[in-house]
């Protein structure tokens, strides 16, 4: 059973489709980076996963159940919404009491471990942003979730706070074997910890897979400008870029690329994802034909 899967999933707000034809299947125990530009539908996907929204078409299953119809599944999902909403007038201790009262699976010890150094009588509204994020994380992890969903957790944190937040998160899920999904538009935030990537762009899943496998199947080719014909071993040209008389291609490969006129390098995750994000550079259909028609020189 995939912790989170979607089939033909679509979500429409009024007449605008935010997600369409989404196919998704996350492996168990993965740390998933859900990346994509702003407005790609990352938040929408997560809100669908916790039943805050209902799909307009298709289906979505979290831990094997439909969250919109079976809200009981929510007791096993830890979710930190964008901007980590909390009741600002409650104190830290009262916020924890709120979580205890609303969760039958509540584990106070886990939550307490995250809140060391936080005064329990401090008002949430007066906490520093980093502490508030920590409290929101503690609430989610205290549920001992099998699936952890975080929506832009770094958006308001400075790099240092972001790093320690990530560390806390990783410590927290290390023992629970939970699948973690971190939605972010800053790839660098999750690059170090993700072993799985889902790239959303233009309302659809552009790319998903194991990070190692993705890095292994892509190569950066550099050579002099030339008419682009077929290159042995290349399945698809993801991005082409011209720098002076140099031509650099980011390609998806089927096989080893042995053409000696190209220098072949491995590609970094961030560069790979950025290449897929820019939709105008995506040769989605018949890539070879389009590439062959163009002349660069």
């Amino acid at each position: 059973m995939a912790p989170l899967e979607a089939h033909a999933l679509g979500k429409r707000f009024r007449r605008r489709w935010v997600l369409r034809h989404c196919e998704l299947e996350l492996p168990e125990r993965a740390i998933v980076g859900l990346v994509g530009p702003n407005g790609a539908g990352k938040s929408t996907l997560l809100r669908l996963a916790v039943g805050l929204l209902a799909p307009s078409e298709g289906e979505l299953r979290a831990l094997g159940r439909d969250p919109a119809r079976e809200p009981a599944v929510l007791s096993e999902i830890g979710y930190v919404a964008q901007d980590a909403p909390l009741y600002r007038s409650l104190t830290v201790a009262e916020t924890i009491a709120f979580a205890r009262a609303t969760n039958s699976r509540w584990d106070g010890d886990i939550a307490a471990a995250f809140l060391s150094g936080l005064r329990s009588d401090a008002r949430v509204g007066l906490l520093a942003t980093g502490d508030r994020a920590r409290l929101a994380l503690a609430l989610a992890l205290g549920k001992r979730p099998a699936l952890m969903l975080l929506d832009e957790p770094f958006a308001r944190l400075d790099p240092l706070a972001g790093r320690s937040f990530l560390q806390l998160l990783m410590d927290g899920v290390a023992e629970t074997a939970a699948t973690v999904v971190i939605a972010t538009h800053v790839i660098a935030d999750v690059e170090r910890v993700c072993d799985h990537i889902v790239l959303l762009s233009g309302g659809g899943v552009r790319l998903q897979g194991d990070v190692e496998a993705l890095l292994d199947s892509h190569r950066l080719l550099t050579g002099t400008r030339r008419p682009l014909g077929r290159i042995a071993g290349v399945r698809q040209i993801v991005r082409e870029r011209h720098v002076g008389r140099q031509l650099s291609l980011l390609v998806r490969r089927d096989d080893a690329i042995v053409d000696p006129s190209w220098s072949v390098d491995r590609v970094g995750l961030e560069e790979l994802l950025l290449a897929y994000m820019a939709p105008e550079q995506l040769p989605l259909r018949q890539p070879r034909e389009r590439a062959a028609l163009r002349w660069h020189g």
Partner: protein, 314 residues
């Protein structure tokens, strides 16, 4: 959950309590001179509103003396609406506005249970507060009710059972408005308008028909205090045709010019009044019916909110 409801609404609950206690103190302070005047003037001897000569003077003086307090009780008509505006409307609208609904609705408790527990406790508090207010007003107004009756709208709507029922309806209406409109200020406005319109419609069009009114024919043309709720008071001529006020005025002027007593002149013409009214002793039956209507409306709004909260996007 009970603790959470208390914690999140304690400001409103305490404000309500302080308001009620202040009103009770004000009522107590003003009631003491009122009761002593009632006994001093031996007003009880004018009851039931008799035509004993002089009573009208004593009663009028008593009512004039304490008219400020009576006017103040009329303002109590607005109090139940406040529950809807300041407790009901923000209940869900604020959660949706501030995004905390995304926190509350993703915990291990279903939205419906979360909301129903909140509503239950707030409804109990509202009913208790409303009942206290209704009883307090009834106690304060007791001397006036003896003369004026309690059936006229300005009295009926601030006394007894209807007060908690109105408050409960306002609360649930506010909750529903907050859920549908998702924003606090529009929800408050909508609650006020819907509450006012419902009250008006029930008071104007339903309440006179709760029970069949009693029709009474009279030949006396002096208007005397009537403890019941007069719905209609019309003049008919000998042939049974309706006499317009213009025609009545003309007849009176005619009599005055001729130097005849207008009353006996009208009686001599064979004219008579027909009064249709709801008698004062139907007060509790009417209270029960009206309270029942608003309690049912409140339950309907609550049920609708509990149904809709499940499919509200957040």
């Amino acid at each position: 959950m009970a603790w959470l409801t208390w914690r999140q609404h304690r400001l409103q609950l305490l404000t309500g309590l302080v308001g009620l206690v202040s009103l009770a103190i004000a009522a107590l302070v003003t009631e003491l001179p009122l009761r002593s005047a009632y006994h001093r003037d031996a007003l009880a001897s004018c009851l039931p509103p008799s035509l004993r000569s002089g009573c009208d003077i004593i009663v009028r003086r008593f009512e004039d003396e304490f008219s400020a307090g009576v006017d103040a009780t009329r303002a109590l008509i607005a109090l139940p609406a406040l529950v809807g505006l300041f407790v009901g409307a923000p209940l869900l609208a604020r959660e949706l506005e501030l995004g905390t609904a995304r926190l509350a609705w993703t915990q291990g408790i279903t939205r419906r249970r979360w909301l129903s527990q909140k509503l239950l406790l707030l409804a109990l508090a509202t009913l208790a507060g409303g009942a206290a207010l209704g009883t307090l007003t009834m106690w304060w107004r007791h001397p006036f009710d003896a003369f004026e009756g309690r059936m006229s709208a300005s009295v009926f709507e601030v006394e007894g059972l209807v007060v908690p029922a109105y408050a409960l309806f306002a609360l649930m209406l506010g909750v529903l408005a907050g859920l549908v409109l998702r924003r606090t200020v529009p929800a408050m406005t909508a609650t006020l308008v819907a509450f006012g319109v419902t009250r008006l419609l029930v008071g104007r069009f339903l309440r006179p028909r709760f029970m069949a009114p009693i029709h009474e024919s009279a030949t006396s043309f002096t208007s005397r205090p009537h403890p019941g709720w007069v719905l209609e008071d019309t003049l008919y001529d000998a042939a049974g045709r309706h006499v317009t006020t213009g025609r009545e005025d003309l007849a009176i002027v005619h009599a005055q010019l001729a130097g005849i007593d207008p009353h006996s002149y009208l009686a001599a013409l064979g004219w008579h009044r027909v009064i249709s009214y709801q008698p004062a002793d139907r007060f509790w039956a009417f209270q029960a019916i009206e309270a029942g209507i608003f309690a049912a409306l409140a339950l309907g709004a609550a049920a609708l909110a509990l149904w809709a909260v499940r499919r509200t996007p957040a």
